[in-house]
Amino acid sequence: MSGRLTGKVALITGAARGIGRAQAVRFAEEGADIIALDICGPVDTVVVPPSTPEDLDETAQLVVAAGQNVVTEIVDVRDADQLQRAADRGVEAFGGLDIVCATAGITSRGMATELSTVAWQTMLDINLSGVWRTCKVTAPHLIARGSGSITLVSSIAGLRGLLGVAHYTAAKHGVVGLMRSLANDLAPHGIRVNSVHPTNVDTPLIQNAAVAGAFRPDLDREPTRQEFAEAARTMNMLDSPWVEPVDVANACLFLASEEARYITAVTLPVDAGSTQR
């Protein structure tokens, strides 16, 4: 199987690195042109090192290296107007839109009752409302096409609760509700909407002192990658501490492709079995 997205145009948020970059590259390898959006900067309440314009440039170079065209825009999914303009410019450049991946997301930590209001609101604004805005500004382009596929990147935390991330879990569950309603809304237009639910993915969102440290409360220092891996491995059914960005991208590729033409409103875990353990 190759050329599974030949002639298609895909818009991806959070495309500077991690899962978003893997989607951009994997889709390009299968023949899609890419509209790559990212905030390329810090977000209040988030301790993960921010993505940068250089990261987004590197994604663009990888798409070009795969033989496809790319448009990049620095955009914050909290800003509806900015997002609208960026999406419209990208669609104008390529003459249409077929695939949307709402991938942009953040992590932060705190027990449910101890979260600050700003941490709670920022989480919802990006991980849930940002996804809604992404769908809102792109859906008309898909409707104009009369077909398309939207994939929302949720999490295992969209299917079950996790300790110390109530706001993240609420937002990621909210994404499932959004997905299920949107699938009903857009089905008459031939547009499919699904969500994917990764376990830990080997990206900057987990490879940092805050997340790694939460997995190793027994250590009074920042755990090494190896020490983090030992603890993370126990979450999963398969003998792996985390999955790679390309594994999530492959699931999104399948959902976006013709092979999944009758798959809509599903929640697809890419979780090494963690939700069933």
């Binding site: 009903n184 059914m237 092979e259 875990p269 090494a272 079995g273 069933q276 353990r277």
Partner: protein, 267 residues
């Protein structure tokens, strides 16, 4: 690359319908096939083998009933002896018997359905797992949207299709350490003889004297989110191939729905 080149796939219910298409799709991806079905459809099973061979792959066909553990063990051993290994198992064999209210189902109807759709899957896995390698593998069990929700007059079918989800979830826990992944696929109506038959047409269109496929299609289409009455066998096979391929290497214990939105349609 899907990583299925030169792998060996066992498919039950391989003689016709979706089972045959599984065999064709895996052969398209470069796999050899152990095709199993009951003796009553031996001729159709030979046609499946021909389809696989036309694609340049080998097919070991075995007439064996999933209800009979001894015959399944013999079929797996013969297939592995012929093709050299076993990497993927697709437990596809199943029946969709006529429906009735739960309290009117006969003992025979109830037990026969469980025997094929549930115990048959367990037999398939039980016979296969010892032959699967130590370097990983994939088991895909074909359930149904009735494995996720109930519908009237299908207690035996619905119970059997729910039960294989429990089986898969347990197996996924047991086989994860060996790198063998276990998932279920949940098709809605599929365009095969199991759905496209006169009895089903009449059940779906009691208002018509001689309902045809297109009359049934109207009813089925109205149940789906997407404007199609049923999915095609290849759509189910594509999902199975995805799960069995390297692209699904970290997907286990999952229920993948291929139903044109049937189970999520709001009324």
């Amino acid at each position: 690359m899907t990583g299925l080149l030169d792998k060996v796939v066992l498919v039950t219910g391989a003689a016709q319908g979706t089972g045959r298409v599984h065999c064709q799709r895996f052969a398209d991806e470069g796999a050899d096939v152990i095709a199993v079905d009951v003796p009553a459809v031996a001729d159709e099973l030979r046609s499946t083998a021909t389809e696989v061979e036309k694609r340049g792959r080998r097919c070991a066909a075995a007439c064996s009933d999933v209800c009979d553990i001894d015959s399944m063990t013999v079929a797996v051993e013969a297939g592995v002896a012929a093709l050299g290994r076993l990497d993927v198992v697709v437990a596809n064999a199943g029946i969709h018997p006529p429906g009735a209210p739960t309290w009117e189902l006969t003992e025979d109807e109830w037990l026969r359905t469980l025997d094929v759709n549930l115990t048959g899957v367990w037999h398939t896995v039980k016979a296969s797992v010892p032959s699967m390698g130590s370097t990983g593998g994939s088991i895909v069990i074909i359930s149904s949207t009735n494995g996720l929700r109930g519908t009237a007059n299908t207690a035996h079918y619905t119970a059997s299709k729910h039960a294989v989800v429990g089986l898969a979830r347990t197996l996924a826990n047991e086989l994860g350490p060996r790198g063998i992944r276990v998932n279920t696929v949940h098709p809605g109506a599929v365009g095969t003889a199991m759905v496209l038959n006169e009895a089903t047409f009449k059940r779906l269109r009691p208002d018509l004297l001689n309902p045809k496929a297109e009359d049934a299609a109207e009813v089925l289409k109205a149940r789906n989110l997407l404007p199609v009455p049923w999915v095609e066998p290849v759509d189910v096979a594509n999902a199975v191939v995805f799960l069995a391929s390297d692209e699904g290497r970290y997907i286990t214990g999952t229920q993948l729905v291929v139903d044109a939105g049937l189970t999520q349609k709001s009324t």
